[in-house]
Structures are given as structure tokens and as C-alpha cells.
């Protein structure tokens, strides 16, 4: 296997539960233990009720493309061989948003409003990224 040179997530940081969930083919975000507001990336406080109580919950992994853009400039050396590449901003059905990449569709066919579902990409023995594919 060729070595993976793209940036990797911090697996043991505040979002550890998210990345652990991805290994198990689940899309997990934080839920406020007081008012149930969903949030991601992780935060110590709920920005609505300021409670510190929270738990990680699994979402449906379904949503739609809010927007997308296509990088023609190399900001990370690991992406150099796939220029240009597309990043999508997905709004999950439950509300939270995520930046990600699409698989199983040509860049030219990506549309705002397109229905998508999570597609789990094992990029190394330890890391799974949550990408999306047309529903």
C-alpha cells in the first residue's frame, strides 16, 4: 500500500468519539445533555443553553449538499496528485454541517441540493474518513 500523505485527523482530541465512530461505520456528533441540540465539531459547551453535559450520538448519515467548491491550488502536498479536487459542504438531515468529499460521482455532476449518504473511507489502519455518495 502506498503511504497516505494527506493530512490526518487528530484521533485522540476533542472529536475522538467522532473518529472512533467512523471506524465503526457510524456518523457521530455531540448532543447536549440538557437541551438536545446537536453540534459538531466538538465543543465543551452547548452554544444554546451553555450546558456542559453532552453525549455522542449516531446520526442517519443522510443529508444534502449545501454547497461545493473545487480546489485548483495545492494547499496540502498530499492532494497534489488529485488536483483539482472538490470539497462539499453537507447539511445533515438532523441539522449539523460537515465539510467532506464525494465518492462515486464525477465532480461535474455534483449539485447543490443533491441527496447524499455517508460513505466510510478507510484511509489507513487507524483512520476512517466520512465521505459522501449520492443517495
Amino acid at each position: 500500500m502506498m503511504s497516505y500523505t494527506k493530512p490526518l485527523p487528530v484521533l485522540d482530541g476533542d472529536n475522538a468519539a467522532h473518529w472512533a465512530g467512523a471506524r465503526e461505520r457510524e456518523l457521530r456528533v455531540q448532543r447536549c445533555g440538557h437541551c438536545a441540540r446537536l453540534r459538531f465539531p466538538a465543543s465543551r459547551y452547548c452554544s444554546d443553553c451553555l450546558s456542559e453535559d453532552s453525549e455522542w450520538v449516531t446520526l442517519s448519515g443522510r443529508g444534502e449538499i449545501w454547497s461545493h467548491c473545487r480546489f485548483h491550488r495545492v494547499y496540502f502536498k498530499g492532494f497534489e496528485n488529485e488536483m483539482p479536487y472538490t470539497v462539499v459542504l453537507v447539511r445533515l438531515d438532523e441539522g449539523p454541517m460537515l465539510y467532506s468529499n464525494m465518492v462515486g460521482v464525477n465532480d461535474e455532476d455534483i449539485r447543490i441540493g443533491m441527496r447524499v449518504r455517508a460513505a466510510f473511507d478507510d484511509v489507513s489502519d487507524a483512520v476512517t474518513l466520512i465521505k459522501f455518495t449520492p443517495e
Binding site: 487528530v10 485548483h72 491550488r73 454541517m97
Partner: protein
């Protein structure tokens, strides 16, 4: 909102800038001092006349004042983000109106080009510092966030690439008339459309130009402003508002709500309406920001900004000449400061070939998670 009694209470009496471009060997302190000397000369003041200083992008107010050999009553540093320029000017106006100090210098110095400042890749903190989590997917840079917003605006309202190109092409036509602008060669819409993409749908020409430079502005109470060598330029109205909650992601409304709030305040405070304005200085870190601003401040209905800018409406001679110095995409990315200086120079009638005829009222506006606007007038 600011007390309407503050209308015309504070005036700009001096402005100055350095060269813009690649200026090796000049730290932010050096660039700020260079600009300050020019602004003091413009105001006919000595440094000892200053009793207030706010530095921006210059790391430390203490070091700056030590270098400059001054002991202001009021000294502060504001964060080195472009959105802070308008707020810093407002803070200075409020400080003068409240009597914290009488004559204040705002000093900006940025050596971003020489030190290779980057707004994307490792170290990117755009989106309230949370950017790193998206690097595995290749997402980075404020430019990409604006590209996302523009893509959605295009899908939502039918705004076209050609309409967006009008913004940068118009700015460049103004920079051609600005002797110190970094990019002065005119471009056509077709040249814009055929230029390389940085982050699609944004082309090279839709991005601001990171450069070295400094800008300084001297303000004082309007009652004391009559004695200088230049006609005072009055701050008629100012306001700010934010959209900071959930700002890890682009605002789905293109910052419409904070802009609408600021618009209501600033026109009321200044006692003017859109059609009274002779020119606009629109914060243009990326060209889409100009479109969003025109909608948010009510120059056109929501979603209509693409059609609004067609046919040279923002060009000299058009209905709302905008960014007459060339702005951030052609003059230099001086993070709002040089746009405010241009407003002052236009109202003084100092702009030569790019002068807006008998300009009396100019509005500065900045669309960002922190929105601000200032209306300047040549008459009280």
C-alpha cells in the same frame, strides 16, 4: 446602536500610507511608523499632539509607542483581521466622543508579503479556529469558504460568473488610475473568465493581494478639526453587528441579517439614504463579498446583486462608484484601512483622475462574521 447624537462629532484630519508591494526589511512597526509620519504631516500635527493610539496588525501597542516615543492617554491593539478596521475606527470615534482622548492615531502595518503570510493550508484558523478538523478532506482557506458561498448564491439566484467578474474588472479599471496600486493593468471580463481558478468558482482575480504596507488615520473631535491644513472629513454614522454563533460554517444568509441591522442604524444615524451616497468603499477580500454587501445594505433586493453590478454601475461615472483606489484585489490588501483612507481623499477632492465629481458622502461597509459600516461626509 450608537447614539445618534454622535453624528458628525468626530472628524478625520489626517491620512497617510506607505508604498504598497514587496517591501523587504520593513516590519509591521516600521510600516506603521512610516504611515503615521505621513498622516501626521497630512494633519499638520506633531506626534506629541496625539493622546490616543490604536494599533492594528502591529503586534504590540507598547512596543509601537516606545519606538514612536509617545505616551498617549489611551492605547490599545485590535486583532489583525480586516473586519476589525471598521470597528477600530468606530471605537476611536466613540473614545473621542466619550472624552477618553482628544486626538487619536490609528496605525496599521502589515508585512504579509515579505514574510509569506498564507491564508490556507497548515496553520489556517479561519472559521473561529476550527479549520484543522477539515484538513483531511482538503478544506482550507477563507477563499474556499467564500467560493462555497458564491457557488450557492449562483445556484440560489442564478448569479453568473460574468456578473461576478464585473466586480474585479471594475476594481482593476480604478487601480489603473491609482499611482500606487500594485496591479494596474486593466483586464476584461473575458480575461477574467479565462484566468486560472484558485478555488472554483473563484478565479485568481477574485482574490485580494497580500502585500506589505502601512496605513494611518488621525481623528479628533469635530470641534477641534477646523484648524488643520486639510478640510475635515466627518464621521456621520457608524454601526456594527455580528454573526459569530455557528460561524465555523458559512452563514447561510450571506451575512444578510447583521448587514441589514447595521444598514438601518448607519443610514438613520447619518440621516442619509442610498441615493445620497456619491461613492462606496466595499470590503473586498474576495469579489463575492461585494455582491453580498450590496444586498445586505439594501442597494438591491436579495439575490439581485449580480444583475445590479452589470453595465458598470460600480465604475467611476456609474451610479455608485466603488473602491475607486482599486480595493483589495488591485490596490493592495490593506484590510479595509486603505479603503477608509480613499473615502477621506475622495471627500477632500484629492483623487485626480479617479475623483468622484463633487463627492460629499461616502459609505464604507464590510461584510464578514463581524459587519461594520461608516458613513463619511465632507459637510457637517
Amino acid at each position: 446602536m450608537p447614539d445618534h447624537a454622535l453624528r458628525n462629532k468626530v472628524a478625520v484630519i489626517g491620512v497617510g500610507n506607505t508604498d504598497f508591494g514587496r517591501l523587504p526589511g520593513q516590519s509591521p512597526y516600521d510600516l506603521g511608523l512610516w504611515a503615521l509620519k505621513n498622516a501626521l504631516a497630512d494633519a499638520g500635527l506633531a506626534k506629541s499632539d496625539l493622546d490616543g493610539v490604536i494599533v492594528n496588525r502591529i503586534p504590540d501597542y507598547q512596543r509601537f509607542c516606545e519606538i514612536a516615543g509617545i505616551n498617549p492617554r489611551f492605547a490599545l491593539v485590535t486583532p489583525g483581521q480586516g473586519r476589525m478596521s471598521g470597528n477600530t475606527i468606530q471605537l476611536a470615534a466613540a473614545a473621542i466622543a466619550a472624552g477618553l482622548c482628544k486626538t487619536i492615531a490609528l496605525v496599521y502595518g502589515n508585512n504579509g508579503r515579505s514574510v509569506g503570510a498564507k491564508y490556507g493550508g497548515e496553520g489556517d484558523t479561519y472559521g473561529s479556529g476550527g479549520a484543522g478538523i477539515w484538513f483531511p478532506y482538503g478544506m482550507t482557506s477563507p477563499g474556499a469558504a467564500h467560493a462555497m458561498m458564491m457557488q450557492r448564491h449562483m445556484a440560489q439566484y442564478g448569479t453568473t460568473a460574468r456578473q461576478l467578474a464585473e466586480v474585479a474588472v471594475t476594481s482593476r479599471s480604478h487601480a489603473a488610475l491609482t499611482p500606487w496600486a500594485v496591479m494596474r493593468d486593466r483586464i476584461t471580463i473575458d480575461e477574467h473568465l479565462h484566468s486560472r481558478y484558485i478555488c472554483e468558482p473563484l478565479h485568481l482575480f477574485d482574490y485580494c493581494l497580500i502585500n506589505d504596507g502601512g496605513v494611518a488615520i488621525v481623528l479628533t473631535a469635530a470641534d477641534r478639526a477646523q484648524d488643520g491644513p486639510r478640510p475635515p472629513v466627518y464621521i456621520r454614522g457608524f454601526s456594527s453587528a455580528t454573526r459569530l454563533a455557528d460561524s465555523t460554517f458559512p452563514d447561510p444568509d450571506y451575512w444578510y441579517q447583521p448587514m441589514a441591522a447595521v444598514a438601518q442604524d448607519v443610514y438613520e444615524m447619518a440621516g442619509v439614504g442610498h441615493n445620497d451616497l456619491d461613492g462606496l468603499m466595499i470590503y473586498d477580500n474576495f469579489s463575492p463579498t461585494v455582491l453580498f454587501s450590496l444586498e445586505g445594505f439594501g442597494f438591491c433586493p436579495r439575490g439581485e446583486s449580480g444583475r445590479f453590478v452589470e453595465g458598470g454601475r460600480l465604475a467611476l461615472g456609474g451610479q455608485f462608484p466603488s473602491n475607486t483606489c482599486g480595493g483589495h484585489m488591485s490596490e493592495s490588501y490593506m484590510q479595509g484601512w486603505a479603503l477608509n483612507v480613499e473615502a477621506v481623499r475622495q471627500l477632500r477632492g484629492q483623487c485626480g483622475e479617479r475623483q468622484i465629481e463633487s463627492a460629499k458622502l461616502i459609505q464604507y461597509m464590510c461584510a464578514a462574521p463581524l459587519v461594520s459600516s461608516i458613513i463619511y461626509g465632507s459637510e457637517r
